[in-house]
Structures are given as C-alpha cells and as structure tokens.
Amino acid sequence: MQSRRNFLLRTGALGCSLAASPLLTPMTFASAPWDNRLVVIILRGAMDGLDVVQPYGDRNLAGLRQKLKTGEAGGAIDLDGYFALHPALQGLMPLWRAGQLGFAHAVSTPYRDKRSHFDGQDLLEAGTGFDAAGGVRDGWLNRMLQTVPGLEADTAFAIGREELLVMSGAAGVASWSPDADLDLTPESQQLLQLIYAQDPLFSKAAAEAMQIAQALNLDGGADSYAELLKGMQNTMAGSQRGKEHVKIAEFAASRLRQETRVAAFSLNGWDTHNNQRGGLTTSLGRLSGTLLTLQKELGPVWQKTAVLAMTEFGRTVRENGTAGTDHGTGGAMLMAGGAIKGGQIYGKWPGLGDSDLYAGRDLLPTADVRAYAGAAMRGVFGLEKSVLENTVFPGLDAGSLPKITL
C-alpha cells in the first residue's frame, strides 16, 4: 500500500502553499465572501474519544475502563443521560447548555489498521482516502478555498510554528506564528527582495512575512542596529511568556475579528499510552482554554463561528496495562461556537460489546469524520454538496449530510 505521507513527500506537496503573490504586490484587503467563521483545530496524537465523551450508559464501559474511571466514579459530567463529559472540560458546560458545544461520536477518517500517527494525520489533513482519485496533494481546507475565486490571502490563516498540511495548496493562505517578528530597514527590505527574486520559495515566504509584519504593525521602521537588537531581544523574551495555546487562540481571534474567515492550528499532547488520567487532563485543559479564549476574544463574532476539533484516530476501547490506551480507530470530534447546533451528540452508536468492536479492539466507526466537516462548511459557507464530495473530500459519500449548524 502506498503511504499517504510518502506520496505527499515525493510529490513535494507537504507544505507548499504557493500563492500567486509576487514580491512587490501589496497586500490588499478586499472584503471576504462570507460573514461566518470556521476554525479547525488538529488534535495531534490521537485523542481518546471514549474518555472525552464517555458512553457511560453503555454497560460495557466500566469493565473496559477500570483504572480510567468513567461516569460518576471518575467525576464526569452527565450530558444526555447516556454520555458524560470528561471532568477536565467542566469549563465548557455553559457552552453545552447554550447549545454551543456538541460532539460527533464513533467517527474516523478512512484510515485503517496500521495506526500510524503520522500517516493518520496526513490523511486527516489531506481529506482523501487511500483509494481516492490520484493527484490530490493538498489539504482539504485549501481545496475548499480554491472553490471560491478571488479570495485574498488573509481570508485564511494557518497559525503556529509548524506547517499545516490541512491549509496547504494552490489557494493563497496566510501563515504566521504569534511569536514571530520582522522589522527591517527599508534598504534591507529592498535588497532582500532582490536576493530572493531567483528563489520562489524564499521569495514568497519573505514577501508574506513582510506583508504580515506590516499588517500587524510589527514593522516598527527601526533604522538602527540598537533598535533592531532590542526588538529581537523583546521577541525572544516574549516567546517565553504566556501559554502557547492561549497566544494562538488570541492571535486567531484577532484575525477572525477582521478579514479572516478560516483559521487552523494544532494542539499536541493526545498520545496517552501511559497514565492517561494525568495526560488527558492536561491536554483537555488546553483545549478548553483555547475554546474559551476564542469565545472571549471573538466577542460578538463568536455567534457566527464554528470550531471543529479533529484527531487522526481514536484509541483502544480497553485500557492497556499502564493506565492508558493504545492506538485505535473510531473516535470523537468536538464542535463549538455560536454557529453550531450543539447541546447534542451526533452519530450512530455502535456499542462496546466484543462483537461490536473494530478488529476486536477499537470503537467501530459508524460515520466518516469528513462528512461532519463537510456539513459544517455547508452550514457556515453554503458550499454545495457536490463540491464537497467531488473537490473538498474526493471519494466521500456524504449521504445525507447531518445538519450541525444553525
């Protein structure tokens, strides 16, 4: 079987988000085509959906999870009489009650069996199946943007130090990290443009960096070495302060309040093989903090926002021998925001009996997680179902898309 990752590496697709923006084209701020906002968070490491949204009404759960206490015994919060929320997400309960938090359960990408994080994440972000039509080499958010002609680069923002495949592709996308900074003398700026002119990768990245720095007012017009050095020292000191996920959420919100309509970033730390109680509590605390920061910083824009948090696969239904869980298949997706029809758990529950499981060990996926992502895009941006099935998620049979937005 051809690995998705190697395919992407061979075709050089990982990471290329080539906008047609030559160096000297000034960044324009045309109004975006939509008013709603979409935020996609990639949860890297395989979040244990069964621990986050616990099917404590399923009589098998307590036996499968003895050290990982579930339901009332583990302090989980009842959601609907059958499912309960992990206690580390307590802070999100006001959103649940307001109908602004929901989940899709027993979902997965088409990835099966080898359970590699890295292939799993590539497949999640590419949005294609292994057997999808050949030649697809970009991320699904980027393909969604490609279907709308004339978008400005700042319509979509990839945030963080690491590259995001889900946003990569032919459509212009802005990319920045909250701790990045760039200030240059006008002479240096011109000379840099000259030396980058022969190298499209450098030329494009530098041009975007200069434009973003200007748009963010990082470009203070320093004209002495002392000022630049001071600025560099401040940047480095600032990169040590504060919590990274909060800085990313604040940055995303600051862009989404303006012209940006789509933002994506990652949260790491979900690979809970060992002492899951501790590790998952920490990671869910970050996820909760991220969502609450977005809500607070977006202000009224939160009402028009749909946030999707997705992971590469779920984890084994049985806890392992070290109070953790190993790589599995079916998992859960989180959705939040004022544009979401929340307060419910979507999906068809497959059950946790021995004969219900996938390969005798994993939660059986009963829906494709891409169908929910598609439903959200249809809801907030009005995308046609045929565009979703043919272009954004080639090979997806979305069936009748669930309606998850208001």
Binding site: L9, Q66, H117, L194, I195, A205, A209, G324, D326
Partner: protein, 460 residues
Amino acid sequence: MSFDPDTAAIRFGMGLGPGLKPPGSVDEMIRVLRARDAAAMQYPIPRFMSLLPDISRLAELQKDRRRTKDKARLKVVMAGIRDLRRSSRSAQAEYLKASVARGVFSADGFRERLTRFWADHFTVKGKNGILKTAVSTYVEEAIRPHLTAPYSQLLAAAVTHPMMLLFLDQVTSAGPGSRMAKRRSGRGLNENLAREVLELHTLGVDGAYTQADVRQLAELFTGMTASHDAGFVFRPGMAEPGAETVLGKSYGGGRPGMDDIRAFLDDVAVHPDTGAHIARKLVRHFVADDPDPALVDHVAARFAQSGGDLTEVYEAMLNHPLAWVTPDRKTKQPFDFVVSSLRALGVPEDRLMRMKPRQVALYLGLPMQVMGQSFENPTGPDGWPEEAEAWITPQGIAGRIQWAMTVPHVARLDLPDPRVFLDVALGARASAALEFAAKGAATKWEGIGLILASPEFQRR
C-alpha cells in the same frame, strides 16, 4: 565522481569558515570520522549515566515532599528540588552551547551532521524533572559513539536506552501473563515502543508488518525498564512468559532475558525494509528532499551487502556522483543555520564559550525555537520534517532574517567586511544579485545579515 571540497563542507558538514580547511576527499571524510572524536573531547557533554545520582536525589526529595509533615523540613526539601531543577536547566544550556561549539569549530563537520541525523531518527523527549533537560546526554551516550557501527548496534543502544524506554512508555509495560500482572491487577502491556520501533526506527510505515507484529513485539519487549540508580534494568517479573512470533520468526520461550530482544533487534536491523527505509531517510537528509531513486537504491544495496555497516553506507552515498551534482535544493534546519552562520563568521571561541545560560537562550535556543526548531525537542517521535517548505514559511523565514540581522554582531564585535565575508561563507555559490546586495548594504551588519539570510547560504 565530482567531489568538491566546498560541497563537502556545506552539504555534508557545518559549512565553510575562515581558516577552516574543507575536506579534501571522501576518503579523508571517512578517515576523520573513524578517528577519535576530538570535538567531543574539546567540548564535553556528560553521558546520561552520570546524571543518575542527581536523578535519584530528585526522586528522593520528591518522595520526601509528599511524606513530610514538618514545615521546616519541607522548606529544606523544596529548596533542594528547586536547586536541582535550576542546575539541570543551566546544564541544558551548557549542552546546547557545546553542541553548537562542536559544529562551529570542528574540522569534522560530517560527524556533527550524522549526530544530529541519528539523534533525530531516534528522537526521545524527557517528560519530567531532570529528564526534561537530559536529551543531549542520551545522544552523547547512545548515539554519538555508534555513528560508524553496524546499524544493529546503534539500534540496540538507542532502543534500550532508559530515555527511550521512558519516552515511549516501555518502563511500565508488563506482559499480561507476567508475575507482575498476576500480582497487581490492571498491570499489562503498552504498545508504544514496539510500534515506533517498527514504524520509525526500522521497517518504516510501508514495511512488512501488521498490528499482530506490533502486539507480539510489545510482549517480547516486556521486562526492559529503568531505575533511578541503575539506569537500564531487565526485570524478568515483568516479562511475558513463552515465545513471541515477530515478522514470522519466533523469539524467546526459555528464561526471559535480553538475549531474545537483542536477537530480534539484530534481525530487524538487517531486514531489507529497514535498509530501504534508512537509505531513503539518509539521502533525503543530506542530498535532496525528493531524492533520485538511483541514489537511494545504491545506498540501500550497500546497506544490504554490508549487513548494515554504517560506514559503508555513508561511503556508498558519498561516492555516488549524485551526492555531488544534485543542485542545492535542501534548506538548512535552524540548528544548522545558526551553527554554520557562526562558523562562517569565525566567532571567537572564548566569546561563545563565555556565554551565560541566559545569553545561550536569548541568542541561540529561543531564536531556533522561533525559527521552528526547539533544540532536541520536536513535537513527536518522528522528529523534524525534511522538506524545505516546512521550514521556509513566513514565520520561519522571519525568525531567520531577524537572527541574521542581529546576533552576528553580538557574537563578533568586529564584523568582517561583507564583500570578504561573502567569499568566506559561500565560495563560488554567491549569485551576482547577492554580490550586489553585499556591496550595496549601508552598514556591515546589514551586509552580513543579507548574506546569511540569502537562499545561497540557507540552501545546500
């Protein structure tokens, strides 16, 4: 064969520098690599074993903290914990400084590059306490001494190292039928290390293994654990009794011990899928993100013929014309960018070595992080990406330009003339546009910054 000294220094080493002679031939590169490790003696980094007393002490203090009721005693304990943590953090800054210094001053840049390559291939992270700051000491102990060994030796050193066993949760994994699992309910298997050994360290994700192999290997690995005072420990009471079948071959069955695990590691180290995986990874790291299959196949063939003899594998790569004629399309990762810049600048040794931990962070560690590479701390066990596109992003290049414009003048007060520097740093690689820019820059620091920020300097 088109060996060229500048390419040897830039593509396979840490770059050019004033007064530093680039390698004269492939034979010389290999000879130097096989000789004693002069850079490690000059800029020492302790081995992991030497941290054990501090690791034990911290564990004792933490136990005390939980048990002590006495307030005065608690104060002393807390102060002890703080001191140990603080000293481990400044030690980490010293490790970074030594790693940088080796790259900046060593005549054997290929050794430094191979160290980074294999440290990344066998990525570990410390999750808490002193382990968080100990990655360099693992590299010094498990990676660096085995760069020219058979692959099976390097594999065993890395995979059985306490840092790896801790990082990938092997230390708590017990066989479901082991004495420990019978005694303590809920104790059992953890698949993490077994999966990553097959997927990342040996066969590769496209290799010929299944979930059943992962499970069987996890059982075979049980018993390997670590303790605060001894480091690596094999505990038969945690080992799964009976034989395991991994990749179609049966291991163990008698008294559990390391022999069976080593037998498996010896076999998997020379599996054809392992050779193909390592060859491709090595060539992608050194020659091209999207390498010519002819070169990969050539290196893989030598891996197979030599039973994974790493020196022969490197020779196969270096003696192939494609290693030299492939255009400079790779991008230096941030660590190499910073090191090769300081090397080209001819930074005075005492100025670098006198840097305090705070300065190491401000001018080396944090800037690399802003450029996208927190030193020895990638996101996951798969290490850093290779593709130029993953590094030359708007945020990544902003970090590189900002560093290039500011830190050289901190590292060297008397900056060289940019026109001279251009030749020192790049030899024949400078373009006319860059020459124009170096001449046209209003100040020395801008001229130097432009040269370091140029594609010619950052590509190789």
